[in-house]
């Protein structure tokens, strides 16, 4: 498999020799990549790319004073959304514990609200 570097081992793989694949460079295996975390960082990179394109389309960062009385630009809103999402997920894990995707849906709604009103 080409992307086996992105595949975390499971308990069933204990003691087996790991299959070498195309992307298994020594300098990257120590980072212990999985496709889930890779997807997360690709999402972050996409967010930043979208922000750059958005800034190109309408420069100035769209500053305004939102409902919290804070002066925010688009970058601030992205920061608030991402950090808030981290905490929503963490508290969901602590207080509810399972069905994490519901927290993700809450975060999407939170993203939209922050970008619209904060």
């Amino acid at each position: 498999m080409i992307f086996s570097v992105l595949q975390a081992a499971t308990w069933g793989d204990m003691g087996k020799e790991k299959e070498k694949s195309f992307f298994d460079f020594e300098f990257i295996t120590w980072m212990a990549w999985t496709w889930q975390t890779a997807a997360f960082f690709i999402f972050i990179a996409l967010c930043l790319t979208v922000m750059v394109i958005w800034e190109k389309k309408s420069p100035g960062g769209d500053p305004r004073r939102g409902i919290l009385g804070l002066d925010t630009t688009r970058g601030d809103r992205l920061f608030i959304s991402l950090l808030g999402s981290a905490f929503i997920h963490l508290f969901w894990l602590a207080l509810v514990g399972s069905v994490l995707w519901i927290a993700t849906i809450i975060c999407v709604a939170y993203f939209v609200l922050v970008f619209k009103y904060v």
Binding site: A8, A32, D71, L83
Partner: protein
């Protein structure tokens, strides 16, 4: 006149980008990767999902060290900021006293963290240390290696000794930048010393104080070396602040997964508190 557009200049940013990638982005990515997996070393990792995050969020041990960390940070901010401003106000404004005071003030800042810890450890030892021996000779029952209160007292005293100078230097710089015209106007109006302080000096020092509070918050919230050398987190876990607890977990127990999850939660808390501090202070800045 038209400015020439030369996007080639971006190539000069590449070295900085590479440097930041190697000392910040790649390690951070690795921590994220570790936080979702279990390892027994030898580069073998097992997928664990969000288990470690849940475990840390519900862990009594994490709550305890987080509580200790906030208590410590608030105590030292509460002491260092007013004390630093007070010292800056009493420092001479001209003459030979200025360089003498500045050099004396910067001395503690120049001492490496672990040397500070070692100095205070020896200084505070109850049997041979000057501080510890004197306190015991005066009739106090002082032993920072065994009593929780004494350990906290010594750690806080050490941090105040080490870092108040930073607040002093920043406040002093803020004070020196106030135009004499403000003081003259205050004198004409017959303003009291207190009015001068609250209406002129404090507002003018706001920016440097914001920086001082942020720096002191960050440093004390991530403090590791000094308490590690002084008390080693003890007695028991009484002075095991977040970083000490984190290192115990990561290197002492080799629980890399939970330690990575804990450091991410730690990172989010630092980000949140700094953002709140900064936003609140900058918001008042614009009002005034």
């Amino acid at each position: 006149m038209n400015k020439t557009v030369n996007q080639k200049a971006w190539f000069f940013v590449i070295p900085v980008f590479v440097l930041v990638a190697f000392n910040a982005i790649i390690p951070l990515m690795t921590v994220v990767n570790y936080a979702f997996q279990e390892t027994f070393g030898n580069n073998v990792f097992m997928w664990e999902g969000t288990r470690w995050f849940k475990q840390i969020m519900l862990s009594e041990r994490f709550h305890a060290s987080l509580g200790r960390q906030f208590l410590f940070t608030f105590i030292i901010l509460f002491i260092q900021i007013p004390l630093g401003i007070a010292i800056a106000l009493t420092m001479p404004k001209e003459g030979l006293g200025v360089p003498v005071c500045l050099v004396l003030m910067s001395m503690p800042l120049l001492i490496p963290w672990n040397v500070v810890g070692a100095m205070w450890n020896i200084f505070a030892l109850p049997d041979i240390g000057f501080l510890g021996h004197s306190l015991n000779a005066l009739g106090f029952d002082y032993n920072f290696t065994q009593q929780i209160g004494d350990a906290w007292f010594t750690t806080i005293l050490m941090d105040v000794w080490h870092w108040t100078s930073l607040v002093v230097l920043l406040s002093y710089a803020g004070l020196r930048s106030i135009q004499p015209a403000y003081y003259q106007a205050a004198e004409i109006d017959g303003a009291s010393r207190w009015a001068v302080f609250t209406k002129i000096e404090l507002p003018k020092m706001k920016k440097v104080l914001t920086i001082a509070i942020l720096l002191r918050f960050m440093d004390s919230f991530m403090i590791y070396t000094e308490p590690f050398v002084l008390t080693g987190g003890g007695p028991g876990n009484a002075t095991a602040f977040l970083s000490i607890d984190l290192v115990k977990m990561a290197l002492g127990q080799f629980d890399l997964g939970p330690a990575a999850a804990m450091s991410l939660i730690y990172f989010f808390i630092v980000l949140l508190v700094c953002w709140v501090f900064y936003t609140l202070m900058m918001r008042n800045e614009e009002k005034s």
